[in-house]
């Protein structure tokens, strides 16, 4: 007994054949039980049926006694003379067996066992059989359609599957269980074929269906439902290792960006029943078979997914391993280092298989409608390095290639299928010059047109800002600037303060903090660092006022703020900032991270900085003189910079009595002039909505001009770019359509000319930018800014001079980009490897391999596929080792059935839907999973290996989530498209198959239910762990949807015109969630619980949209019921 305690892992399948059945003598048992296993695991690989090194076989004791070229290996009764003992006890290679690199030395206990056995006379069964010829292994023999067995229980048989199953039943004395109930069958079919539960309406319809063929109709309908493709794609994505990319940070190390195209191809192909052999051919070689068909090229995501940024060997190792495991059920990866220990595959076989893939690489092809490969594109493979040699690695060590011999592509002869001749494939020109695809150029043209429109829109916006500037400003006339244009009419009140700072009048100003200096007749605040420096006006201030401050900011460590405060309490803010219990500010900040103007206020020592409209980004710069005018009327505040209105807001803070201050915070600044007067009663102020500008206002006329120049230049660039693309396109088209020389020449010249004009436009744009920077530069940056303008001017001059120049013979026009290879870093992680060219030929290797794999005579391909399909319908495979059909794997439980199904698959034209239909129509599939106590079958075959009942399947992780959403009626039906990013998954209602799924980004909920590993997942686990219970009891997924599920069930009760009693609800909930009716005691307990829930105060309050508190709780219980998560 094994107690993991925490984790309980189970498999619903198992055979365990011990040696109990052998009726041998005790001594012989000793050999079979203790000796033979040692020989088998440590010696057979080289001294058995597979190989006979030293002409020795040890697979029977008799042959060991016969010996090989070194004489008898076993001398009964005399261990010391037995070569076997001598060799396993030898100290050094090559004497020692197993030899170095072939296995660890035998343990002392193992040697002791061998010795004692020989000492005792090497007893063994007389009829001991040698190992069978490995080439005669069942899976390597051709598939022959077996005759359908005649069985006694013919009435039970619905199709030949059942005949094969019944034959085994009859052999072992098993009786098949009855058919499952209609409801169970319906739920089984739905989950199995589309991965979703039937809706209450679908359930009702089926229950009412009197037709005899309701089952077949339902199955057929589900096979035609597009959800079928989503469901079964996820299965094949497990086997084919679907993975979105992952890496460190944003570094692409595995898989490919946009690999979801391959997922969509899988879904679509399954839905249209694309033959399985054709699917394999497309996945391995669509680039050779359909070189210009992007839809089909998506299939090669199968190979593109193996991409690995840093190491080609790891990449190809994955490719070889999983091509052979997925399609052939062969563990070819073992032969990377040495000959296969179980299958007749030499080390060479690995490298021969690798050679098919040696030339391939990955690229992204441009798709119609998207010119940016970062956003979308088709990841696909192509042969980039046709001449790269494949070498055998000595003992698998990639650092030690055997360069004496290049290994050509090849396949093991063992399977009796000849490799089609490898013939290079000439690719149509659009495949290797993808820029010729019609949409590439037209999309570029469209894109350029879009860019031109954006540039024009930008220009229009700037013009609008400038015209706004013009309507609100008039030229400066006085030192403090013009009267506010918003002031209309006369009746102007004289200023109460006019301060030109010719001296610091301490009668007028109280100084609080700061370092103040008079130099050259101006007042400068020199204190640096995040502190306040304040000039407080000692005289009363009108309630509604207009204050104007002219200043220049010189610097500061970070915030660089200067402004006017009012309604300020009389405490000293520099001593104790929390002492300020009321104050309002309007200030500008030249903070590099976002210069702005802000109206803020302090309330009980706490500063508040309200968002727009009380704040607006504003290009305030150092070393420039600005005039800030603040108008305050009650709680409405207006502010102007240089006469331009920049702020209009209402302060939420009530007006209070207080003083007015000028202040800086973390700023060195010059104060030039200040004026204060009562606000003209007729002054019209701006309302916050009046100033809703799209962009920060322009503060200077020079700025406006510079911005305008840049925007105009940008339009010119976009326009020149469009012309250049159009003319370059004409030039390329002339070349591609081989128009006459002179025509080619003239279009070429026009394209060159357009390119030169584009350069001029770009140079002009650069110059406009440089001029703008020069204008903005602070005095210390002026020289370098001027230098930049000079360089830009010179560059423009050169560009202009180049326009009329003669066209040089070697001048070229750039290619359009139709595809881009995925850069690797095999040589150095610092830089991409040189890009390979797209070649007009592909080696033809992969298409030959694909044809070989899909040859109907291949003994493995169909068997492996059939086994995968069977596994997912029944939960248990026919061949338990789904990726190892070799001698180390397990034999099929139903060999003839396996071969019959394989023949069906092949003969139906590899139609998977044909197989699905056959399987779900069988009586075997329709068996009930309910086993009464003391059922005799249980004793004969407790693990149900011989399929006398249905083995329930735990829902796969994706299905658990999808089922909850579907029951709630909120599943988003959209199909396909980019994978849903981790951050969006919690709110997404899409099917789980569309979730981003990689090695390091996995959905937590799905992970708990044995989600597929992306590295390999030929079969899902079906663990039972307590975290699953926690997820189903506590996750938002479940809790958020209880209400909707309860509501739908209640609605369906009403629709079916049952009574709306609790009993009807419980019955319907059981039916919809568990596909059965409750037993008497189940019903009783549920009704009792409903009554108890109703007694709780929460029930009356109702906390959901539907106010079905008690019902929601019942749904919670049923979603956690064993029968919910099991597909029975």
């Amino acid at each position: 007994m094994r107690l993991t305690g925490y984790f309980i892992v189970f498999s619903s399948f198992g055979i365990w054949l011990g040696l109990e059945g052998l009726s041998a003598h005790a001594e012989e048992l000793d050999y079979l039980k203790h000796v033979k296993p040692i020989l088998k695991s440590r010696c057979y690989a080289c001294h058995g049926a597979l190989k006979q090194n030293g002409k020795l076989r040890l697979d029977t004791a008799k042959r060991g006694i016969q010996g090989g070229s070194s004489g008898p290996a076993i001398v009964p009764g005399n261990p010391e003379q037995s070569e076997l003992i001598r060799r396993v006890t030898a100290q050094n290679s090559p004497e020692r067996m197993p030899p170095e690199h072939e296995g660890a030395p035998l343990t002392a206990a193992e040697i002791d066992t061998l010795r004692k056995w020989i000492q005792g006379g090497a007893l063994h069964p007389a009829d001991e059989q040698p190992e069978a010829d490995p080439r005669d292994h069942w899976a390597f023999r051709p598939i022959r359609r077996p005759p359908i067995p005649k069985v006694k229980n013919a009435a039970w048989v619905r199709n030949p599957i059942d005949a094969f199953v019944a034959a085994q039943h009859e052999q072992r004395g098993l009786t098949p269980m009855p058919e499952a109930s209609r409801m169970e069958l319906l739920r089984r079919l739905y989950f199995d074929l589309i991965g979703l539960p039937p809706t209450p309406e679908e359930i009702a319809a089926v229950l009412a269906d009197k037709r005899a063929d309701w089952y077949e109709r339902t199955a057929q309908g589900l096979l035609e439902n597009p959800r079928f493709g989503e469901r079964w794609a996820r299965h094949w994505m497990d086997i084919w290792r679907y993975s979105d990319w992952w890496g460190l940070g944003s570094e692409l190390r595995n898989s490919q960006k946009h690999i979801w195209h391959w997922r969509d191809w899988i879904i679509e192909s399954l839905n249209k029943d694309l033959p399985y052999d054709e699917m394999i051919r497309q996945m391995l070689a669509a680039d050779e078979l359909y070189p210009n068909d992007l839809d089909k090229l998506r299939a090669t995501g199968f190979l593109a997914r193996n991409y690995f940024l840093f190491n080609r060997h790891q990449w190809l190792d994955d490719t070889v391993e999983h091509v052979s495991k997925a399609f052939l059920g062969l563990t070819m990866n073992c032969t990377r280092c040495h000959d296969h220990k179980y299958d007749p595959l030499p080390q060479l076989a690995y490298y021969q298989l690798r050679a098919f893939f040696e030339p391939y690489h990955v690229r992204l092809d441009v798709i119609p409608g998207e010119t940016d490969l970062q956003r979308d594109g088709i990841p696909r493979v192509f042969d980039a390095w046709p001449d790269d040699p494949t070498y055998r690695f000595v003992r698998g060590d990639e650092k030690n290639p055997d360069k004496s011999r290049v290994i050509p592509p090849g396949v093991p002869e063992l399977f009796g299928v000849e490799l089609p001749k490898i013939q290079p494939v000439s690719l149509p020109i659009e495949a290797w010059q993808p820029q010729r695809r019609p949409w590439v150029i037209s999309d570029q043209v469209e894109n350029a047109k879009r860019k031109l429109k954006v540039a024009k829109d930008d220009l229009a916006k700037i013009r609008k800002r400038i015209s706004f500037l013009e309507t609100v400003t008039t030229p400066r006339t006085s030192p403090i600037g013009p009267p506010s244009p918003a002031v209309k009419g006369g009746n102007r009140t004289d200023s109460v303060v006019i301060e030109t700072f010719e001296s610091l009048n301490t009668e007028r100003w109280q100084i609080l903090g700061g370092e103040w200096a008079f130099e050259a007749g101006r007042l400068e605040q020199k204190q640096d660092g995040p502190k306040r420096s304040v000039l407080r006006l000692r005289q009363p201030v009108p309630q509604n006022f207009e204050a104007t401050l002219r200043f220049t900011l010189l610097g500061g460590s970070q915030w660089k703020s200067i402004g006017i405060s009012f309604d300020t309490a009389l405490a000293d803010p520099t001593r104790d900032p929390t002492a300020v219990d009321h104050e309002q500010n309007v200030y500008v900040s030249a903070y590099a991270g976002g210069p702005k103007i802000q109206a803020s206020f302090s309330l009980a020592g706490q500063w508040h900085y309200p968002p727009p409209p009380a704040m607006r980004l504003l290009p305030i710069q150092l070393q420039r003189e600005y005039t800030l005018r603040v108008q305050v009327r009650d709680q409405l505040i207006n502010a102007y910079i240089n006469g331009i209105p920049v702020l209009a807001c209402r302060t939420p803070q009530a007006r209070q009595d207080g003083c007015l201050q000028l202040f800086t915070f973390d700023a060195r600044a010059v104060f030039h002039e200040f004026r204060l007067k009562p606000l003209d009663a007729n002054a019209e102020l701006w309302n916050p909505s009046d100033l809703a500008l799209e962009a920060p206002p322009i503060l200077h006329v020079e700025d406006a001009k510079a911005e305008l120049a840049v925007a105009e230049a940008a339009v010119a660039v976009a326009s020149a770019e469009l012309t250049e693309i159009e003319l370059r396109a004409k030039a390329w088209q002339a070349i591609w359509s081989r128009l006459e020389e002179s025509h080619q020449r003239s279009t070429f010249d026009a394209a060159i000319h357009a390119a030169r004009q584009l350069k001029v436009a770009q140079a002009r744009h650069a110059l406009a930018l440089a001029r703008r920077e020069e204008m903005r530069a602070t005095p210390d940056k002026k020289p370098s800014a001027q230098q930049a303008v000079q360089s830009a001017t010179e560059a423009l001059r050169q560009a202009e001079a180049n326009v009329p120049a003669d066209i040089q013979a070697n001048e070229k026009i750039p290619e359009f980009q139709g595809a881009r290879w995925t850069p690797t870093r095999f040589r150095s992680s610092q830089a991409d490897d040189p890009a390979p060219a797209f070649l007009p030929q592909s080696t033809g290797r992969r298409s030959a391999l694909a044809r070989w794999i899909t040859d109907p005579k291949h003994p493995l391909t169909a068997r492996v596929a059939v086994n995968h399909i069977w596994t997912r319908h029944f939960g248990t495979p026919l061949v338990p080792t789904v990726f190892d059909f070799g001698r180390k794997g397990q034999p099929p439980t139903h060999p003839e059935l396996l071969d019959w199904l394989a023949s069906e698959l092949i003969d139906s034209g590899w139609s998977m839907k044909h197989l699905h239909r056959l399987i779900v129509s069988s009586a075997t599939y329709r068996l009930t999973s309910v086993v009464p106590p003391n059922e005799p079958n249980s004793k004969l075959d407790p693990e149900n290996v011989l399929l006398w009942r249905r083995t329930p399947i735990r829902m796969e992780s994706q299905i658990v989530r999808d089922a909850v959403l579907s029951l709630a009626g909120v599943l988003d039906p959209r199909m396909g498209g980019p994978s849903i990013a981790s951050d969006d998954q919690a709110s997404s209602k899409r099917r789980s198959v569309y979730f981003f799924h990689s090695n390091n980004e996995r959905n937590l909920f799905l992970t708990l239910f044995d989600d597929a590993l992306v590295t390999e997942c030929y079969r899902r686990d079906q663990s039972i762990i307590p975290q699953q219970a926690l997820a189903l009891t506590n996750s938002r997924l479940v809790l958020d949807h209880l209400g909707a599920i309860a509501e739908r069930i209640a609605q369906s009760v009403r629709a079916n015109q049952h009574s709306s009693s609790d009993e009807a609800f419980v019955n319907q909930a059981f039916l919809v969630l568990l596909a059965r009716v409750p037993s008497g005691e189940e019903l009783r307990d549920c009704l009792q619980a409903l009554r108890e829930w109703r007694k709780l105060p929460e029930s009356a309050a109702g906390d959901g949209k539907y106010n079905r508190f008690a019902e929601e709780n019942l749904i919670w219980v049923l979603l956690n019921h064993h029968d919910f998560i099991m597909v029975r």
């Binding site: 094994r2 840093f310 789904v882 180390k888 106590p933 079969r1019 549920c1086 108890e1092 709780n1113 019921h1121």
Partner: protein, 477 residues
Amino acid sequence: MLDRPSFWTRRQFLSGFAAIATGAILHRDGYGRDGEWVPPDGKPHFPPKAKSVIWLFMNGGMSHVESFDPKPMLNKYAGKTLKETPFSDVLDPKKLAIERLVVPDANGNLRTTLYPLQVGFRKHGQSGIEVSDWFPHIARHIDRIAVIRSMWTTDSNHGAQTQFHSGRHQNDGYFPNLGAWVHYGLASLNDNLPQYISFGRREYWNSRDGHYLGPAHDAVPLRVDPKNPLDFSQPERPVSSQARTIGIDLLQKLNSHRAAVSPQDTVLSARIASYELAFRMQQSIPEAVDFSKETEETKKLYGLDLPHCREFGAQMLAARRLVERGVRFIQVQHGAGGAGAWDAHSSLKTNHQNNALAVDQPVGALLEDLSRRGLLEETIVVFATEFGRTPGSQNGDGRDHHIYGFSVWMAGGGIKGGVVHGATDEIGFHAVEHRHYVTDVHATILKLLGLDSRRLEIPGRKRLDIDHGQPIDEIIA
């Protein structure tokens, strides 16, 4: 609900389980059907010396020469290139050939200008083993510790973390790590708690544990937060606790009705057991990471009052509490994120000082506390890192990755105290005496736990000899 006796008795639970165990893992591909292999039964293969493991891992690569392997020659020849010293033979290409590159980048290169020790060393304890002054608390317990100074590995970049945990180079794919093997091989010590727990963030390349053993053998990540210690441990939306009690009661009734109808359904009984465990875990896990009943002295011992070591201290205290309650394997990662906190390519002195401040006192406290409670005898504490750091300098004041020789230490359950095992050469470059690959640490732990890694092998999942490692018998008491 949790307090009253379970309707499904423990005996039934176990018997249900036994039937499951027969089928356990059988589907894992490639097992032989001729009886040469049986899945583990949860019992040790031979008498164990320890029950639990606390596996501490310093992400980024801790300098061996500034922690547990003093090299005065680095001071003597500081600033000299290797060629100018008597040690130039360390650059023997044959010795360097163990390196297997994943990422040839600016790091993980040879650094040939010797860099002096950035910290002093002092002898400690009866054994007089030298420990650097950055680890005074650990040093106090040196007589309980076996320092292995002769480790080597092959991945010169941080994928060596995967390698340290699983024994396989990243290029070989992903393999189960030691904790997963232990979890796979041994039965539970406490049915109310997960048996393999991890604390601390992990790097993406070692974010999984079970790999082909299956997700059931991944560590359960816990947080030292009694309110929310485990994903989904609390309802993600407010729920009425009374309603829930009624619900759980009903759920158990419904499942037991089913169990009565299908007594042989082992999957059903496992499901019932898993719900019971889940409900018990909802109480036992928060309790295990709730320190309210610990004394002030204990909290101070772990440095919970000190900002620089509070986080790791809490994880150490939680580790002790979990071991006390019967958790098999606790993995604590320090400083994951980016390449790892200890990755001192520059400013090694400040970097290691700060990191040591964060872990030294808590680890010292763990040893002290375990020993006071008599738990150290049955608990193996491992203090490890993916590789050491170069004797030569990088960027003027740092050291690069160094795979040819580095140190780890172990203490507790069956480990000899106060011993130094193995040695690097005079400048700490190559492990020269008793060289140990990382899996030798695994083999030592498995041996102390009573497990034979070869008997845990899953057919078809052949492990290499080096994956199994060799127990370091010299440090086993």
